[in-house]
Amino acid sequence: MAIKGVSLSVAKGRIITLIGANGAGKSTILSAVSGLLKSWEGEIEFEGTSLKGLDPPSVVKLGISLVPEGRLIFPPLTVMDNLKLGAYTLYRKNEGATAAETLEHVITLFPILSERAKQPAGTLSGGEQQMLAIGRALMAKPRLLLLDEPSMGLAPQIVEKIFQTLIFLRDEGYTILLVEQNARAALQMADRGYVFETGSVVLQGETSELLEDQDVKRAFLGKDYGDFYEERQ
């Protein structure tokens, strides 16, 4: 079992980040919420509805979309087909109209996707693929957006751009749960954070507090290494 005894809450309209080292269990949380993890013990609720036993498509229908680790777009499909796949669960007549509106919205967020609409998604750069993955998740009209390591393998400027988009989305009313190894950037952007270590939460709080916390600084922010070294001696 990767995680044990974890309790966390994500308030509406806020960005919550889970930080921690590799294998601490951050992604497992997202897998459990999105239904990709088949069985888990305990309880996960979204807007008062239990997510127990739901498969991923049902979770998407409830209003939770995952932007998976490594983006996982569909490379041979065009950018437009990738986006349309995001709206797969919205197929009834009136939903078709909202899907067109959502597409407009995604394209205003990431204009580059419209320029590249007919290209195979595999030809996009890493940053563009990340934008596509976020756009695809938004197409399902979620209220909660789960992101797994969106900064992975991207240049700092692009990470900044992606994170700015997330802040913009939060201000629009989306709720965001973000898993990150890039702790500094994540904590600077998010409202609240949870620090994971070997499958449990060791610290939690407003990000402003966490950024000041000695343990967090030492373990994740690469600061005060001198102090740390002296303590050891």
Binding site: P56, P57, V60, P68, L72, F74, P76, L77, L85, Y88
Partner: protein, 318 residues
């Protein structure tokens, strides 16, 4: 230029070629060969939806081909039912069996799915051979009536050719429609990553089952057309080798391409005829040709020929 426009031109072109061929070709042998290409195209088209688009292999599709053929044979001969009523019955029975077999089998993937469908194909083949009171057993089923529609008889080579190719065109259009729809996008997403497809909200297990049932329907249609073309069917036509031949048509023609089904079916139907002159070396040459296609055009004929065309265009521009 938008895509649907080109597709429409392609359909009109194929339809024109079919009509012209029907008028110009009067040799009965050639007409029958072309009719067989049409039947094989239906088989390859159905399997291509499953294999090429959804990425799920089936090594037992000859079973559905056989179910289509035997259903119409049994209904028209034993029960004297009109073939036109036997056609929907054949398709529905094949779809029902595909559904029942698909529910447990499609939970498998990769080699295991191949093994599962292989086993299914063999069981059905044995059933055709051993259930002799109904199927006629190993010696086959004789006396299947020719098709007629009012005053029009499809017993002649030309009319049957038009009938089969009418079904082929219709099927090409149906497949194209499905592929360009929401369901088609879902199918292609399964091919690229089933887990991600699920995370996006695609109910992959339901979709795989649906496409499996659909491909069974195409195979049954092909079986129906085959039975009323040759008036005689025997278990040997629907064995494991036939399943492999359908897979080969899809792979050689080009996966995930409906025109690939047409090309692959044409090549695999025509090759043995062309190679008769090699007499005992026929199978060797046949194998060599298939191997060279796979070595030099690993993406299949459709993609391979398109690549060659694009390359020649580029080198001209230089």
């Amino acid at each position: 230029m938008n895509k649907p426009y080109w597709y429409r031109i392609a359909y009109v072109a194929v339809a024109a070629i079919v009509i012209l061929t029907g008028i110009l070709v009067s040799n009965a042998y050639y007409l029958q060969l072309l009719t067989f290409i049409g039947i094989n195209t239906l088989l390859a088209l159905g399997l291509n939806m499953l294999m090429g688009y959804a990425g799920q292999i089936s090594l037992g599709h000859a079973a559905f081909y056989g179910i289509g053929a035997y259903t119409t044979a049994i209904l028209t001969v034993h029960y004297a039912i009109s073939p036109w009523l036997a056609l929907p019955a054949a398709i529905l029975i094949a779809m029902a069996i595909a559904y029942i077999v698909g529910v447990p089998t499609l939970k498998l993937s990769g080699y295991y799915l191949g093994m599962g469908t292989l086993g299914f194909g063999m069981i059905i083949h044995i059933l055709f051979r051993e259930w002799s009171s109904i199927t006629g057993g190993a010696s086959g089923f004789i006396g299947i009536p020719p098709l007629e529609f009012g005053p029009v008889s499809f017993a002649s080579g030309r009319n049957y050719f038009y009938l089969v190719w009418g079904f082929v065109l219709l099927s090409l259009i149906i497949c194209r429609r499905i592929i360009d729809s929401r369901v088609g996008r879902g199918l292609r997403s399964i091919h690229d990553g089933e887990k991600t497809a699920r995370a996006v909200g695609v109910d992959t297990s339901q979709l795989k089952l649906q496409v499996f049932v659909l491909s069974a329907a195409f195979s049954a249609l092909a079986g129906f057309l085959y039975a009323h073309l040759v008036y005689f069917i025997s278990p040997g036509t629907f064995d494991f080798i036939t399943s492999i031949r359908i897979v080969t048509m899809v792979v050689i023609g080009g996966m995930a391409s409906i025109w690939g089904a047409l090309l692959g079916a044409s090549l695999l139907t025509l090759l043995p005829e062309w190679l008769h002159s090699f007499s005992e070396f026929e199978m060797v040459v046949y194998g060599l040709i298939l191997m060279s296609v796979m070595i030099f055009l690993p993406q299949g004929l459709t993609r391979g020929l398109m690549d060659i065309y694009e390359r020649s265009k580029k080198s001209q521009n230089r």
